[in-house]
């Protein structure tokens, strides 16, 4: 078993581009490698088979600035972005609800 999840590629968050958003984009998880709650959300989506982009905000200052912009100044982690919904430190239930509303699960 390869321990590197398909979703651990990270750092390729769709942002700032002119991509037409007709389809629902993958979820984005903003977090840090040492945050247990971030790891918990990532593993939860791994188990559910939901593709996502993982962004380590300590390694990507531009992403951190973007996160601060979206959350009103917060760099809390994890923050999960799903189809336009920005969830700061969500419960796994909240993540599931957002994924369901977006048709991702």
């Amino acid at each position: 078993m390869n321990a590197v999840p398909i979703s651990q590629t990270g750092h390729d968050v769709p942002h700032g581009g002119r991509r037409p958003a007709r389809a629902i984009a993958p979820a984005v998880i903003y977090g840090t490698g040492w945050c247990a709650a971030t790891q918990g959300v990532r593993r939860h989506l791994d188990r559910r088979g939901v593709p996502y982009h993982y962004v380590d905000i300590e390694k990507d200052p531009a992403a951190a600035a973007r996160l601060r912009w979206m959350t009103g100044g917060s760099l809390s982690h994890p923050t999960v972005s799903v189809a336009g919904e920005v969830l700061v430190e969500p419960s796994l239930s909240e993540v599931d609800w957002a994924l369901s509303r977006a048709g991702l699960i």
Binding site: M1, N2, A3, V4, P5, I6, S7, Q8, P14, H15, G16, R18, R19, A21, R22, A23, I24, A25, G33, W34, C35, A36, A37, Q39, G40, R43, H44, L45, D46, R47, R48, G49, V50, A65, R66, R68, W69, M70, T71, G72, G73, S74, S81, A83, G84, E85, V86, L87, V88, P90, E94, W97, A98, R101, A102, G103, L104
Partner: protein, 246 residues
Amino acid sequence: MEGKPYSRRLQDLEERFEQLEPLIPEGYEKEAISVLHGIVQELWRSLHSGGGAPSTDGPTLADIAELHRRAPPMEGEAHSTPLPVGARAPDITLQDGNGHRVSLHDFRGRPVILVFYPLDWSPSCSDQLSLYQAESGEFDKYAAQLLAVSVDSIYSHGAWAAVRGLSFPLLADFQPKGEVARRYQVWRPKEGFCERALYVVDKDGMIRYSYVSPKLDQVPDIYELYRVLDSLQAPVRGAPEVAGRK
């Protein structure tokens, strides 16, 4: 996958909002726009969270499980060097939250994930052990046993495990306080608790991985742990694949 129409609209708006960020000069106006956006997101979120009036019947079990979110922070740099990989893991025998004596050698023949964490009920520890509980099915595929050690009493362990739904042993390094943490070189004498540290002991009792978090509030990377377990042995043949970990 096609989402619902409102989701696409919301996503379009959110993307447009992101695109505008670099175009707005820094200052209070930009901050105010960001704060307003945060407010809208939180209001939208609250509509779906079923947030009714708070209970007047006192704290619920869920409230108690969430106490760590408002607890004083646990901070500090690591100042320990763990036992090296290749060393024999010192045997330990401690009581768990049910008062049962649990020894490392009980699990000879299986990998053991030995977790040292500072304290029950504290901020990062709560999330860390809940993370491991959620991984219990995956650990089973490696026939791995997780043992968690802190200086808390068996009664604290029992209550904390019940509140957080933890099913693996929480071992009380209580008397002599921190003796096991000292043997594993992860004791913090000034604070009276251990480092946040992780050992993986193989089926023959040898240390195959040792790690001390550089800061107390930092939790070891679960994906790194899986890389270690992968290196020890293949998962049980025929076990279902975990999505995203192939």
